[in-house]
């Protein structure tokens, strides 16, 4: 015993790691996929016909998979980031992802938050962009094999194995979409956490002007620009109306004058799991609607598959969102 303690500890640790890795719920394995997802979204040099840009409401609300069911053969990227903005930086990065020989369409997910100075720091994008080469290599090529070792917290662990509370699930897609939903589905809790988002952080007229200037410039260059306001809960819409300083109607008029096409997605029946973001089903519904409107405006042939065959289930998402 005394002579083998290092070896024994390693054998025991390996056994525990294998056992826990095998027995824990699959839903706890998201960290590696998430790392892969953001690194891929930020550092991939693939080019697309359509690029969506915006914040988390965009990357959770638009499913390129559902859109390509209708706009077949069109390559679509969801280039949204957490607390992302429509700053010059992000608009430029979105443009870089367009295939010059493709259809060249940019779709702006316009939320009040995406036009605020705090969002314009684009912290998540910068964090991902500034990753070192070794982190990029690790996240892109090793992460898909490391899901077995994905960490969790004791709180999540006990929620997963014991609690009856609704659990949040998410799936990461190569297209840049993050599908989110609750199991079992339930109404969102308090909206209170969002109340401070606009304190000292109202919509910036400078950012709005820049979006409109860029829309004009793109339109002149032959890039088609669409914009929509990602749907959210009525409580959130009300909160944003009161606190953000965002006037949708004025923005819409100016955007149209600048050459953009406003995509009206206001419909009843969208469901948010947290007052801000759409759940998976609603995101798919919204995406089909956006695809249909854009397709019609472009004169693209549209395909309307049966509802239940529209997009893969989250379980069908390949590891790492691939």
């Amino acid at each position: 015993m005394t002579r083998n303690r290092v070896f024994l500890a390693l054998v025991l640790a390996s056994t525990l790691i294998v056992l826990i890795g095998l027995l824990r719920p699959d839903a706890m394995r998201t960290v590696s996929r998430e790392k892969w997802f953001w690194t891929w979204k930020t550092h991939s040099d693939r080019k697309f016909d359509v690029v969506f840009v915006g914040d988390s409401r965009t990357y959770r609300g638009i499913s390129p998979e559902s859109m390509t069911d209708i706009l077949q053969g069109i390559r679509i990227l969801n280039f949204g980031y957490s607390s992302g903005s429509l700053s010059a930086l992000m608009l430029g990065e979105a443009e870089r992802r367009l295939d010059p020989a493709g259809r060249r369409i940019i779709v702006l997910g316009v939320t009040p938050s995406s036009l605020t100075p705090r969002a314009a720091r684009d912290e998540q994008y910068r964090q991902e962009k500034n990753r070192t080469s070794s982190e990029i290599i690790e996240n892109l090529y090793l992460s898909p094999f490391l899901t077995y070792f994905d960490p969790t917290t004791p709180i999540r662990f006990f929620e997963e194995i014991g609690s009856r509370k609704a659990r949040f699930r998410e799936a990461f897609y190569e297209s840049g979409w993050v599908a989110g939903w609750k199991e079992p589905a339930g109404p969102p809790g308090s909206i209170g956490v969002f109340a401070n988002d606009f304190t000292g952080n109202a919509v910036s007229p400078m950012l709005v002007d820049n979006v409109l200037r860029q829309t004009e410039a793109w339109t002149r260059e032959g890039i088609r620009v669409y914009a929509f306001r990602p749907p959210t809960s009525p409580e959130m819409t009300d909160l944003e109306k009161r606190l953000s300083g965002f006037d949708e109607e004025t923005f819409r008029q100016r955007f149209t004058r600048a050459g953009g096409v406003w995509v009206d997605v206001a419909r009843a029946g969208y469901r948010s799991y947290d007052h801000s973001h759409l759940d998976k089903e609603s995101a798919e519904t919204l995406s089909r609607l956006v695809a249909e409107i854009i397709g019609r405006s472009m004169g693209e042939p549209l395909v309307f598959p049966a509802q239940d065959s529209v997009s893969p289930s989250p379980g069908a998402a390949r590891p790492g969102g691939v």
């Binding site: 002579r3 290092v6 690790e138 004791p154």
Partner: protein, 474 residues
């Protein structure tokens, strides 16, 4: 490459596979350590290697010159210190100096923009520069003082200076401790390998489980705009930071010590349960011991220490603490952190309150609480983004208001959970509980093996979001 990265695990596996062969000869040992350490360091940015080599060559050559021309040794020392402190100033303090000179000049009505004139390389802080510069300086000063003879073999010297386990975040190992260890082949025993294993497993647990899980709560709290106005929230957030920095840095030091043990070397303890101190003086004998003793031996005592009268002793202590604050970062809030500790230490020296308090029933616990209170207040200056934020947070903490309503996000809940774990670990030590007394020696050995296995398992499955070690930036 950070210890908490996959690439380091690969690097360490390769190094320790090669080490038993490499350590057989002096040159094999020194060259292998130096080469591996340069790869380890250059992984961040290969250009930094030249800085490390430059600092090393400066001190190696200076020490040799002092031995060759003893009558000139004072001037050699001055030149070497100027080189070391100059490089530290350029890379660490140039921006700070330029910005504040610019502000002073503007206040005097002569605005100058020095910041934009600084070369771009001065804006990059090479990882670990403060650590290896201090380690290198201690060698030259010790040779100057006659405490040790200069090393003749260049690789022997670089093996000491660049040894990867402690290169970027300490402990700051003294030349007179490590150079003799490197001079001879040192074989490991089962006991030393096991001690190393315990240190490495415990260090990873402290870093990746506790510190990294505390980080999201701390980062959210200090970045929140507007800041929550609840006193409870800020006591928890600052408490979380106190344990984050202890376990982040303490974890790194433990891993470094463990790796050194596997190589056959011994580094001194760097953190010895500082939050169980019952006086600030004791706190500083337990916190970042290698740096505290460095400042004591190379700044405080040369200034005269406390041997030139009480008032001079206070002045020397203040100078040492303020310089120590600036060592941590080129910003006024680091300087304030050092000054606040100096203030508390002065008050402690003058009043002798810890000894008086400890005579009361439950006095030790009260003294512990009083020290923690002061240390937490000082940590606010250390962690805050600027002085204004520090004062606002301290104001809220000292209101002792009963406001709640702060966001109890998952990061908050996880933070509070791991704060409790950290507190429990320190209280276990403070209560002088000793698990060895609970089991027979044979059973205790099995318990230790099981504990290490569980710590490794926790480090895999309960690790927090990957964070760089805090002390890399110093």
């Amino acid at each position: 490459m950070p210890f908490n990265s996959i690439i380091f695990l690969v690097f360490a596996a390769l190094f320790f596979a090669l080490w038993p062969l490499a350590k057989r000869t002096d040159n094999g040992r020194w060259v292998t350590i130096t080469a591996a350490s340069l790869v380890f360091y250059g992984w961040w940015d290969w250009r930094f290697i030249f800085l490390l080599l430059g600092a090393g060559l400066n001190d190696y050559a200076t020490a040799r010159a002092m031995a060759a021309w003893p009558s000139w040794k004072r001037w050699f020392l001055v030149a070497s210190l100027a080189g070391n402190l100059g490089s530290l100033s350029v890379f660490k303090y140039a921006g700070f100096i330029a910005e504040n000179v610019g502000l002073l000049a503007a206040a005097a009505g002569h605005p100058v923009d020095l910041m934009s004139k600084l070369p771009a390389f001065t804006l990059i802080l090479p990882i670990g520069i403060s650590f290896f510069t201090f380690q290198s300086m201690s060698y030259t000063i010790d040779v100057y003082r006659g405490h040790m003879k200069p090393v003749t073999n260049l690789f022997h010297f670089f093996a000491f200076l660049s040894m990867f386990p402690q290169l970027v975040a300490g402990p700051i190992v003294r030349a007179r401790d490590l150079i003799p260890q490197l001079a001879v082949r040192r074989d490991t025993t089962e006991e030393s390998r096991w001690e190393g294993m315990k240190l490495v497993a415990g260090g990873y647990f402290k870093k990746v489980v506790i510190a990294d899980n505390l980080a999201p709560f701390v980062n959210t709290a200090f970045a929140a705009v507007p800041a929550p106005e609840s006193s409870l929230y800020w006591w928890l957030a600052v408490g979380a930071f106190a344990f984050q920095i202890l376990f982040d840095f303490g974890g790194y030091s433990d891993i470094a010590r463990g790796l050194a043990k596997w190589m056959g070397f011994d580094f001194l303890v760097n953190f010895n349960h500082p939050y169980t101190s019952t006086s600030l003086r004791e706190f500083w004998s337990r916190w970042h011991i290698s740096l505290s003793t460095w400042f004591r031996d190379y700044v405080y005592i040369p200034l005269g220490g406390s041997k030139k009268g009480e008032a001079r002793g206070h002045v020397n202590m203040w100078l040492t603490m303020v310089v120590s604050g600036l060592w941590h970062g080129a910003a006024f809030h680091f300087l304030a952190w050092g000054a606040v500790h100096a203030l508390f230490l002065s008050a402690e020296r003058i009043t002798g309150w810890p000894e008086k308090l400890k005579k009361l029933p439950g006095g030790s616990v009260l003294a512990l609480a009083a020290v923690l209170f002061q240390v937490l207040i000082a940590w606010v200056f250390f962690r805050a983004q600027d002085m204004a934020q520090a004062f606002a947070i301290i104001g809220t903490m000292l209101e002792f208001n009963s406001r709640t309503g702060f966001p109890t996000t998952e990061a908050f809940k996880v933070g509070v959970l791991y704060l409790s774990v950290g507190l429990a670990m320190e209280l276990f030590h403070f209560s002088r509980l000793d698990a060895r007394k609970w089991f027979s020696p044979t059973v205790y050995r099995s318990v230790e093996v099981a504990t290490v296995a569980v710590l490794i398992t926790f480090s895999v499955f309960l690790r927090g979001p990957g964070m760089q070690f805090i002390y890399f930036q110093f």
